[in-house]
Amino acid sequence: MTTAGVGRPVGRAPGCPTPARPPRPAGPGRAGLRLARLHAASRRVLTCVLVLAACAVALRTALHWLPRSGVYARQIPLTIEAGAAAVIGVTTRSPFGEPERATGRWLPWLRLAASVALTGIAVGALAAGASAAHLDGGAAGLARDLAGLTGIALLTAAVAGGALAWIGPMAYLAVTLSALTEKWTTPWTWPARPPHDRGAAICAALVFAAGVAVITVRGARDRSRE
């Protein structure tokens, strides 16, 4: 036994390469950004944005062919809006399930930010798609209908799971098509009401607020096995 190694840091043998330095703890800003990026990646937010862009292109193409008024001028844009809302709802699905819920302190805020941001992006994309053509109901009607449909998608995600969140807006769309042709007057079928109908706007806003609140607090009802 010699004393040759005395004085050297433990674990380093002569001739061994210097080990990598442990990563410095990131600042709160960088950590937050990284957390948001990872959350977005786990929810396939980028794919969702691409699908929303495709919906905007589809809306622009449809408006080129559609009449300026009538049932079809409402039905087809509404179908595209329901598709956009369904995609936003599906984005709430978490692949991690319970472990993420148990450890994710910032999860409610991330869910709130993601759902509100995606709704804003959807409204902006579809409004941009409709900007060069005549959209029956205008941008105000589009924002109202899309917000309400997104609220339904978020509520469905909380009840049935994120992956099945699309069922809510699609089923509501089927109901709305009947409401459009039969001229229902209840504000709960807001897409069948004129764009400046206050009751319809309130109902759509309430549903959106409820959806965002529920998805923020509880998140989507998901299991980690899928």
Partner: protein, 525 residues
């Protein structure tokens, strides 16, 4: 005591469990199909979109059948496509593709079992809905029998939606596949309806079109329901389903060479059937009793359905097809006053008989124009088509509205027909968009017709597209009576001011001459 060795137990054969048979596989898939959980929602949508709509209309088999084909599919097809996409992407989502790929059962067979389970649940619900709607219709005493071809189109549409969604989910296992499949089917249905509305040649193949532009109550009563278009639609949808199901058997993992060869054959056959059906739909033409596709048409469908009419006991009997038995009081009330006023005149109808659509004319925006009532035969009979009119109980229409509409629309035509005005000149037929140019010789006929209409409180406004001759009843509409128009107006007012008996006596003497256009305005008393 010896310890004799115990006889050695015969070695048991090590039995290899047989792979699950198709029936067992189907049973397992039936238990785990996601469509099972969707049934309450689908039932609610069926009630909302199909049952409610059907019951808001009179109990006619044709109206109820059309609702089961078009309305139910609008609610069912997109959601089923989405759920089946969800079912198809199950193995991919759970990361089980490699695991189940090495099982004894060929993947194609297992996938077909999953599709079949989803389709069986959806078809069961749809057929249960059909049974309820048809059962209620039969209970309400509808004349005739249920139409099964629209139901067959619905069944084929469900199978095709499930197959397309399932194939999409299988080929692209993503969380976005299900909503996009539902969205695409919704857009395809809406786009197809828009194409039908735009009179696109091949658009009739779309399953939302029951009999093209025909109103739902205008076929299948006097003549059998023409299944030509429905056959083409079933062929198209079955072809799409076969192509989608065949396509999922094409990848190498789906099975052996023979199995994949069979899948390729199914795909090609499906595409060929769908393409042929689209081509057949392009040859469809609108005829008096429905859509006819020459290659699929059965001449036996052109024979009228026998029936015993139901008649009123009024001065001039009104006889209707028994399917319209409930409307006999309304039709009699609508036409009775007019018929009583002209009863006994030469050429006036001695009976009113409801007939099928006499002539049709395709119009823009998937529209159709029907011929109006016609007086003919010896003794004269008024042949009255009721198809295309809004019947009491249809939507929000009341019996009073029906009576009023019938009076206003057909009363004018009957008066025009009686005084000998050419077909299409009257306001009711002119409203169909037929433009008739009339010469000055019909001035007396217009004046008398105007007077009778005024006396009977019929609408006398001049529709767009009808040019009136000088001296005609333009004045009676109260708009732009020119100098010659004033002559006609004055003659009409003179005649209307006469006592009813005097009018009747003059018409009894001069109606034949009036019809032959041998009466001038000055000869009108």
């Amino acid at each position: 005591m010896t310890a004799a060795p115990a006889p050695a137990a015969a070695p048991r054969a090590w039995r290899v469990p047989r792979p699950a048979g198709p029936a067992r596989l189907l049973r397992i898939e039936l238990r785990r199909s996601p469509v099972l959980w969707m049934l309450p929602l689908l039932a609610a949508l069926f009630w909302l979109s199909a049952y409610r709509t059907a019951m808001n209309n009179p109990p006619f088999w044709n109206i109820r059948a059309a609702t089961l084909q078009a309305n139910a599919m609008l609610a069912f097809a997109p959601l089923l496509a989405g759920v089946c996409a969800w079912a198809g992407s199950r193995d991919g989502r759970r990361g089980l593709v490699d695991l189940v790929g090495v099982t004894a059962v060929p993947r194609w067979a297992a996938q077909l079992a999953a599709w079949a389970a989803a389709t069986i649940w959806a078809e069961a619900l749809y057929l249960a809905g059909v049974a309820v709607v048809y059962g209620v219709t039969a209970h309400q005493g509808a004349w005739g029998g249920p139409l099964w071809w629209p139901v067959a189109v619905g069944v084929a549409m469900i199978a095709a939606s499930c197959a397309l969604g399932f194939a999409a989910g299988l080929l692209l296992a993503s969380r976005f596949t299900a909503p996009l499949a539902a969205l695409v089917v919704f857009l395809a249905l809406a786009g197809g309806a828009f194409a039908i509305q735009d009179n696109v040649k091949y658009a009739q193949i779309w399953p939302l079109s029951v009999q093209g532009p025909f109103p739902t109550d205008s076929y299948g009563i006097f003549y059998p329901y023409l299944p030509d278009l429905a056959i083409a639609q079933v062929m198209f949808l079955a072809g799409l389903a076969a192509a989608a199901l065949g396509a999922i058997g094409l990848p190498a993992a789906a099975g052996g060479r023979w199995l994949r060869g069979a899948a390729a054959a199914v795909t090609v056959a499906g595409l060929a059937a769908a393409g042929t059906a689209v081509g057949l739909a392009g040859t469809a033409r609108v005829e008096a009793h429905g859509i006819v596709i020459p290659a699929l048409h059965d001449a036996a469908s052109d024979r009228p359905v026998p029936y015993t009419p139901v008649c009123s006991r009024s001065v001039v009997p009104v006889c209707l097809q028994p399917a319209y038995r409930a409307y006999l009081p309304e039709v009699t009330a609508a036409l009775g006053p007019l018929l009583a006023q002209v009863a006994g005149l030469p050429g006036a109808p001695v009976r009113v008989t409801q007939v099928a659509v006499t002539s049709v004319q395709a119009a823009r925006s998937n529209g159709i124009g029907f011929g109006g009532p016609v007086i003919g035969g010896r003794p004269p009979v008024l042949y009255l088509p009721l198809s295309g009119l809004t019947l009491p109980g249809e939507g929000n229409a009341s019996a009073a509205q029906f009576t009023s509409n019938l009076r206003q629309q057909y009363g004018l035509s009957i008066v025009d027909e009686l005084v000998g005005l050419p077909s299409g000149a009257g306001p009711s037929t002119g409203a169909n968009g037929i433009s008739i140019a009339l010469g000055p010789g019909h001035a007396a006929q217009f004046a008398i017709a105007g007077a009778l209409e005024q006396d009977l409180n019929l609408v006398t406004q001049v529709p767009t597209g009808v040019r009136l001759p000088p001296g005609a009843r333009g004045g009676s509409a109260g708009s732009g009576a020119s100098a010659p128009g004033n002559q006609g107006l004055a003659a009409g007012k003179r005649f209307a001011a006469l006592p009813e008996a005097a009018r009747h006596a003059w018409l009894a003497t001069h109606l034949a001459a009036l019809r032959a256009d041998r009466i001038t305005l000055s000869e009108i008393p």
